[in-house]
């Protein structure tokens, strides 16, 4: 198995010809802008953070300078009180410096974390309220990586490196200033190292960036191979594919390892270039100092101070260069977050009036997933009276799910209108639509947290009793009671694991709790076995009793109990009527029913 054939081709994995949209990424200027907005919103803290960091770094300059003075005092044969004065000066600066540096680090973290927290909240806000039309086009993986990885990268950068980067920067700037203050020529000599540092970084960055990217990809593929084999280990054993999978893991692990070693080799070469720059700067300071002392322009003490200043810079400069990559990465992630923040907010016309009643009317709705693609819906019209239950029936690809999504307001159809209680959905606005229409989709998701919290997502003001009533309605109370801590059991990722069937059952409980005017059910029972499916069907009928309901019937038993059945084929309605009538008609539905019942 070669790596080429196993790499997922993301770009063409989905069937949609246009391909999914990526969320925008902000440009450099806009990214700085978003950062600036955040900083300006807390001006006091920002100013305080900057001032303390600068003052703390300045205090650090005292020691080498005092040492230089000490050297001169010794050379000129001053008394012990001069030495004591210098030593006390260093100690005093140390205490003040300690306080300032500590305060500075705290303030920088505080500012950074606050700006980040507000940013991530804005990002979540934008993503959670993304208009349905856009959500339909973006990849969920892209969203997840923004709120997951990108936030994590920026958080790590701020928490771990933020204060140090700011402090190191301040130290470099102030130390250079200190050297120049001793004597401008010494300062200039120290600056001779700058082009070499710059050259080292500019040599390294373009070479390493693609390596890092490849390394990350390789590690991801390694984990994929491992996880794939682990999760499917029973299958691997059943088909005796152990060797094939081990081979694949070995290959990917090796690829990742070789990339790591290559990147590191490059990194050590950067280290050598950094050492070279240090040599140039230190040598320059000493040689220039030598001539200046000879010409009596500066004292030995000043040269000493300058050399110590420069030696003191090795650490912070090294830190900045070594972490340049992290900072760059944080910048890239920040740009991706800023891109989300700038998404246009969902426009919500917000009709003042709620729908007049719970009737549903679909008028001449047509929809294709991309321009030129085959029509998923082709002129569908449909009416559902208040309290009526209508089942959609048809083969895969007939357009049932699309129609359900259109009715639930998740897809805006290319043409045609859906009326709820006589008001078109797009006039109602998304918020109101959500209040009146409830969709139980094929996708089940158990939100992590307690079961109570999960269920209350459907209606946040419901109390415990109401939640229990809803569970009772769909016959899930026993299920919940059997959980270790009942309604307070932590479920979802990392909690008590619910089966797909249980998750679906709870989704129906959410429906009962939300008590909407219109319920749309889509293939709610597909993954459950037969006995489970029947249980879920009963739960679904209980949850939708007396409610206007559109149900995508995957199992024809769901269709039989409906008031009316709508048979779809290739995006059109081909038959319509109650079960018995359609069976008697001996058409498409009758054929489906016979093959189902055999």
């Amino acid at each position: 198995m070669s790596t080429d054939t196993t790499r997922p081709a993301d770009s063409r994995a989905e069937g949609a010809p246009a391909g999914p949209d990526l969320l925008p990424t902000a440009g450099a200027r806009r990214t700085w802008g978003v950062l600036g907005e955040g900083l300006r919103s807390i001006p006091g803290s920002t100013a305080l953070a900057l001032l303390t960091v600068l003052a703390g770094s300045a205090a650090g300059l005292v020691a080498p300078w005092a040492l230089g003075t000490m050297v001169d005092d010794i050379s000129s044969g001053a008394g012990p009180e001069a030495i004591l004065r210098s030593a006390l000066l260093i100690a005093g600066a140390a205490l003040v410096g300690g306080i300032l540096v500590g305060l500075g680090a705290w303030q920088v973290s505080r500012v950074g974390e606050t700006v980040l927290a507000r940013l991530r909240e804005r990002v979540m806000e934008r993503i959670l309220h993304m208009p349905a039309a856009r959500l339909e086009r973006v990849r969920i993986g892209d969203l997840l990586s923004r709120v997951g990885d990108d936030v994590a990268v920026v958080t790590t950068a701020i928490a771990r490196n933020g204060p140090e980067v700011v402090t190191a920067l301040a130290t470099v700037v102030l130390t250079t200033a200190g050297m120049t203050a001793l004597d401008w020529r010494l300062g200039l000599a120290g600056l001779a190292a700058l082009p070499f540092y710059t050259w080292a970084v500019r040599w390294y960055m373009p070479r390493s960036a693609p390596y890092y990217a490849r390394e990350r990809v390789a590690m991801g593929e390694r984990s994929h191979a491992l996880m794939g084999a682990l999760r499917g280990r029973d299958t691997v054993r059943a088909y005796r594919l152990e060797d094939v999978h081990e081979e694949c893991i070995a290959e990917r692990s090796l690829t990742a390892m070789n990339l790591t070693l290559d990147v590191f080799r490059l990194f050590t070469r950067l280290g050598a270039r950094m050492n070279g720059s240090e040599l140039v700067g230190l040598g320059a300071v000493l040689v220039v100092g030598f001539w200046l002392v000879r010409d009596d322009l500066v004292t030995v003490g000043m040269v000493t101070a300058a050399a110590l200043y420069f030696h003191r810079l090795f650490g912070p400069i090294g830190f900045l260069v070594m972490n340049f990559n992290d900072v760059q990465q944080a910048g890239a992630s920040l740009a991706r977050l800023a891109g989300v923040v700038d998404l246009p907010a969902a426009e919500d016309p917000g009709a003042q009036e709620g729908p007049a009643g719970s009737s549903l009317r679909v008028e001449e709705v047509a929809h294709a997933y991309a321009p030129g693609a085959p029509k998923a819906l082709d002129g569908v019209s449909l009416e559902v009276a208040p309290g009526e239950r209508v089942a959609l029936v048809g083969a895969s690809g007939a357009g049932k799910t699309t129609l359900a999504a259109v009715v639930a307001g998740l897809i805006t159809p290319a043409s045609g209108t859906v009326y709820l209680g006589g008001i078109p959905l797009d006039e109602l606005g998304e918020r109101r639509v959500r209040e009146h229409v409830f969709l139980v989709s094929q996708e089940t998701h158990v939100f992590s947290g307690t079961l109570l919290e999960d269920l209350r997502l459907a209606r946040s003001d419901a109390d415990r009793g109401e939640v229990e009533d809803a569970l009772e309605t769909v016959g899930a109370l026993d299920l919940v009671r059997s959980l270790p801590e009942g309604l307070d059991t932590v479920v979802g990722e990392g909690g008590h694991e619910l089966t797909a069937e249980q998750a679906q059952h709870l989704a129906l409980a959410r429906l009962a709790l939300a008590d909407p005017d219109l319920a749309v059910l889509d293939e709610a029972t597909a993954e459950a076995g037969s006995s489970g499916a029947r249980l879920l069907e009963e739960a679904a009928s209980a949850a939708t009793k007396g409610r206007t309901t559109l149900v995508v019937a995957h199992r024809l038993t769901q269709a039989r109990t409906a008031d009316r059945i709508v048979v779809m084929d290739q995006g059109r309605v081909v038959e319509e009527g109650p079960h018995d009538e359609l069976v008697a008609l001996d058409g498409r539905y009758a054929r489906l029913w016979r093959s189902w019942r055999r």
């Binding site: 040492l67 005796r240 000493l286 100092g289 597909a526």
Partner: protein
């Protein structure tokens, strides 16, 4: 190193405890570790010499104005930096190479252990095993690196000691005793801060988990109109994370301030003392610079040693988890009797190829079941646990089964695993497909014949997957086949099983995610293909379409075979059956 070379798992038994694992690590790479330690020590030595070189230059050249001395000093400085850079490069590459190679080997060993045909009973979940094979492998392997780094740091401390003592004994002793004491004192607040930082990380991780969880269920949130509540919920968690972060930052700030102040006060003491000595003429100005420079430098290797200690602790914890997996007992202990493939396929006698006599396992109590070549037998279970137990039993995973289960006349517990898996293939309900292509998922043996794959796809009513895609059989499939629908995944897995064409095929609920029309096509396809190949097939399902095609149907209830007959007969005679099957 090639993939094949890396794969050669040593034949020696797996390490029994963390210490054994770690000493094996050292043994495996002793050459490069020793060499790496040497170069890293050399590098540290050079680092020690940098302040010495500065002091010497000031003393010999700057203070005297001697140009020749300056030339020598600059030349020496250049040499020093060259050796320093080369030593670091060589040492660092060697030690990282060791760590990476060892991590690779440990990774492969874990994968080998997990995928071993006999299975393992480590009790670790998939996520935990993944962590063992990735981060724990890395951390356990860093043990070797920690040694080399530690040796380098010790060298630096020793070298500094030598230089300081050679300049002035009391001053040197003062620095050598004072500095470690100070650093030790600073460790107490550090421990508290580490705890707070961990708390903070936990809260931040929770915020991240809530974010990905909500976004992962975004479409559901939308469908149930809960997006506003979700945003509120996230804001709450994010706010809590912020409070924790700022709290941790405050204690971090106190610590940073303490360290900065303590370091500088210590420096003031050293400077004051050596300045006074210089005044007395006991030290030259250059020596003063050297002492102060070294006093500053010494903190680095001491802190470095502390870090090495942490590395050791982390490596130990990882090694322990690693051993838990590597040394886990087998899940099954198979026999060693071989069933020749020919016997499984064309034994002329009318012996059933698969027979259960009074078999019991978990909920199964006393099951009699026979399956002959060319037969298609359906099993209807009313309790899903019965089905699971039967699947377990037939995959050879049931260690303490009761009664007799024979394959090709040989008791299943005496059969070697290769023979069993070659003969009986169980395609489970929970479908596992792998990242790759459609073809790579379908081909499970040496036979790559394309018509065979297409025939299998046809029987599984899955040809649309090939026809509807420009790459055909080579269309990419993502990890866990998330780019296919549930029904498509089920059909690909079924086609894979049919293409494998085993003498005995066991299918468990193979059509739960497909619609009625497709199900009908699948039932027909499976029956026809298996009959044509002469293989025996056992279908555990409640789908009437599948059961109607079976030669006979067994009804499994309360751990026993409750009824047997054709689907039609059972529908007519058995009201329970009718109730269970008809929908």
């Amino acid at each position: 190193m090639t993939a094949a070379e890396g794969r050669t798992a040593p034949d020696e038994p797996p390490p029994t405890d963390a210490a054994a694992l770690r000493s094996r690590t050292l043994r495996r790479h002793r050459g490069p570790i020793a060499l790496g330690a040497f170069f890293l020590s050399l590098h540290q030595l050079c680092e020690v010499l940098v302040p010495v070189a500065i002091g010497l230059t000031i003393d010999l050249a700057v203070a005297t104005g001697d140009v020749v001395a300056l030339a020598w000093c600059v030349g020496g400085l250049a040499l020093l930096f060259t050796v320093l850079a080369l030593a670091y490069r060589t040492g660092a590459r060697l030690t990282l190479g060791v760590a990476e190679r060892e991590a690779h080997l440990l990774r492969l060993e874990s994968a080998h252990r997990v995928l071993h045909p006999h299975g393992e009973r480590s009790g670790l979940r998939s996520g935990e095993i993944l962590a063992v094979a990735t981060s724990d492998a890395d951390q356990a392997a860093s043990y070797a690196r920690a040694w080399a780094i530690g040796i380098g740091q010790v060298t630096a401390i020793v070298a500094t000691t030598v230089v300081l003592l050679s300049i002035d004994v009391p001053l040197g002793l003062g620095v050598l005793v004072g500095l470690p004491l100070m650093l030790l004192a600073l460790r107490f607040p550090a421990a508290r801060i580490t705890r707070r930082t961990e708390d903070k990380q936990a809260t931040a991780a929770r915020a991240a988990a809530v974010a990905t969880d909500l976004v992962g269920g975004l479409r559901v949130l939308m469908g149930i109109g809960a997006r506003r509540d979700a945003a509120l919920r996230y804001r709450e968690v994010s706010d809590r994370a912020l409070t924790a972060s700022v709290g941790a930052a405050a204690s971090n700030g106190v610590y940073t301030g303490l360290v900065t102040a303590a370091g500088a006060v210590f420096l003031a003491c050293v400077a004051g003392a050596s300045g006074w000595m210089a005044l007395q003429g006991r030290l030259t100005v250059g020596e003063l610079v050297i002492v102060v420079g070294l006093a500053q430098f010494l903190a680095e290797p001491i802190k470095g040693l502390g870090m090495v200690g942490q590395l050791f602790a982390i490596a130990k914890a990882s090694a322990r988890r690693m051993v838990r997996l590597l040394g886990a007992p087998d899940a099954v202990t198979p026999g060693d009797r071989v069933l020749p493939l020919s016997a499984a396929e064309e034994d002329p006698s009318d012996e059933p190829i698969l027979a259960l006599r009074g078999a019991g396992h978990r909920t199964l109590d006393d099951v009699d079941l026979t399956l002959r070549r060319g037969e298609l037998v359906g099993v209807l279970t009313t309790d899903p646990r019965d089905a699971e137990a039967l699947v377990d039993l037939l995959s050879g995973r049931a260690n303490e089964a009761r009664g007799a289960t024979t394959v090709g006349g040989i008791p299943i517990e005496e059969l070697d695993l290769a023979s069993l898996r070659r003969t009986v293939l169980v395609e489970e309900h929970g479908v596992s497909l792998f990242e790759g292509t459609l073809r790579s998922n379908l081909v499970t043996g040496p036979d790559h014949d394309e018509t065979r794959l297409m025939t299998a796809l046809e029987a599984a009513a899955a040809t649309e997957l090939v026809d509807g895609h420009p790459d055909g059989l080579d269309r990419p499939v993502r990890d866990r086949a998330t780019d296919l629908s549930g029904g498509q995944r089920q059909r690909v897995a079924l086609a894979r099983a049919l293409a494998a064409d085993p003498p005995v095929l066991v299918l468990h609920d193979p059509t739960t995610a497909v619609d009625a029309v497709t199900e009908e096509a699948i039932a027909q396809g499976v029956a026809t293909l298996r009959a044509a190949r002469g293989g025996a097939t056992l279908v555990i399902a409640s789908s009437p379409a599948l059961l109607a095609r079976a030669d006979r149907v067994l009804v499994l209830r309360e751990g026993r075979i409750h009824a047997e007959g054709t689907h039609t007969r059972l529908v007519e005679d058995d009201p329970h059956y009718r109730e269970a099957v008809l929908r």
